[in-house]
Symmetry: C2
Subunit: 143 residues, 2 copies
């Protein structure tokens, strides 16, 4: 009796292990067109103010990085290359050494929303002024 | 003495009123290219699950509606026309009468983030299944 119960359990677990994933795959294939890459599609905005809640977005551009770089971002290919280099970590974008900015406080806030390699992105960053914004990375924040 | 102080205050206020805005305008003109239209740029995602927090975005498309309809959305022009018709109110998109769906519960969640006519958008909506999603509007949610 104990052995029978154990076998039944083993069989049930095997059926789940084999049947479960197969069913899942079949359903996914039925309802979703195959995606060969994790999607990367972003909207970047910029506005004057201390935070996104206070700043009206003055400009907004789209940036798609898969399968190809595209979008209304003026330097889409460069921006995508740069984001790939930092693995989508916007805080890791390096400061350019060839740009020197004043410390004048006229804050601009940049937001990034959407998806990077299948992960949701909701990013906000305030720079002291336009010059400082342009000094980060070679193109991501320059639009 | 009192009069002198009053005059000084008046002069200072006038200087601020005249000088302040001019300086602001000059800076804005210098640092921001003129935008002739309020930006409309969106990222739409879809994933399987009850809410965006639980669903991995399986697909993500961009949609820009100004100055022209563009983006990786498969029916960008149609989607923009439809959004203009409802003034960007995603909840107002009408249900198509020519599509009949089963009540099978296999929820899909759609998110929309970005900017519509200069206003930030952060929208999330869960549909009972893929068919129900496709039945809303003539193309916005079909991607």
């Amino acid at each position: 009796m104990r052995n029978t119960a154990r076998w039944a359990t083993t069989l049930a677990l095997t059926a789940t292990a084999v049947g479960g994933p197969l069913t899942g795959t079949a359903l996914a294939a039925q309802s979703t067109p195959a995606t060969l890459y994790a999607p990367s599609a972003l909207v970047l905005t910029v506005g004057h103010g201390d935070s996104a809640a206070l700043a009206t977005p003055e400009r907004a551009v789209t940036l798609t990085c898969a399968p190809n770089a595209s979008g209304t971002h003026p330097a889409a290919a460069q921006a995508c290359a740069e984001l790939r280099a930092v693995d989508g970590d916007f805080d890791a974008l390096a400061v350019r050494s060839d740009i020197r900015c004043t410390k004048q406080y006229d804050p601009v806030v940049v937001t990034v929303d959407g998806v990077w390699r299948g992960q949701r992105v909701s990013y906000e960053r305030t720079f002291g002024n336009e010059c400082v914004r342009s000094s980060y990375g070679s193109g991501v924040f320059t639009f």
